[in-house]
Symmetry: C2
Subunit: 112 residues, 2 copies
């Protein structure tokens, strides 16, 4: 890591800040909204709250506009790590929560 | 930085991934949408495109849902650095673009 990046790495407001692409396209190209993004976002948000992991210093589940990786979607990204995932269903979302957000390990099979 | 974080710090898809909170509240609490978020997002997106800084390995300007720092808004966050900013007008947005996204230096006066 460069010195330039190191100067930023302090006091993250959220330990894991998750952005789930919710974009709806009308032009026929693939989009995350057509591939279950809303259900995934609602499930992740509910589960993080149940686990009491939501809030400052912990986890934030966010909706986002188009993350511009449409052909690989549905996609989400976890910052500050910058780990990108795709998913199919709630079991995949749970695996990302349990392994990455709780356990701190990248889920290799879902990583893009 | 912990070893745990270091394992993630490789090959960021975007050098700077900017999320601008666009949330509109209807409950009377402050919200970024009432404080110029849309104009800021459009300005940032247009300027980054003009500078030819948009795209993989460079910069992405994203809309996001509520970032949950409403009282400090309007807010945006730059990842993977995890630097949070507030802003008032397009001049502030330009300063964040010129100093942070291009120059790699935190804009202390706008940082929250």
């Amino acid at each position: 890591m460069s010195d330039k990046n190191e100067q930023y790495q302090n006091d993250q407001y959220y330990e894991h800040h998750v952005f789930i692409c919710m974009n709806q396209r009308e032009d026929g190209r693939p989009c995350c909204a057509d591939r279950g993004a809303q259900a995934a976002q609602e499930h992740a948000k509910r589960r993080i709250k149940e686990l009491n992991l939501n809030g400052q210093g912990k986890v934030r589940i966010n909706k986002s506009g188009c993350l511009d990786r449409c052909e690989e979607g549905p996609v989400l990204v976890v910052y500050p790590q910058g780990t990108w995932y795709t998913y199919v269903d709630n079991e995949d979302i749970d695996e990302i929560i349990d392994e990455h957000l709780v356990g701190g390990k990248v889920v290799a099979r879902l990583k893009i």
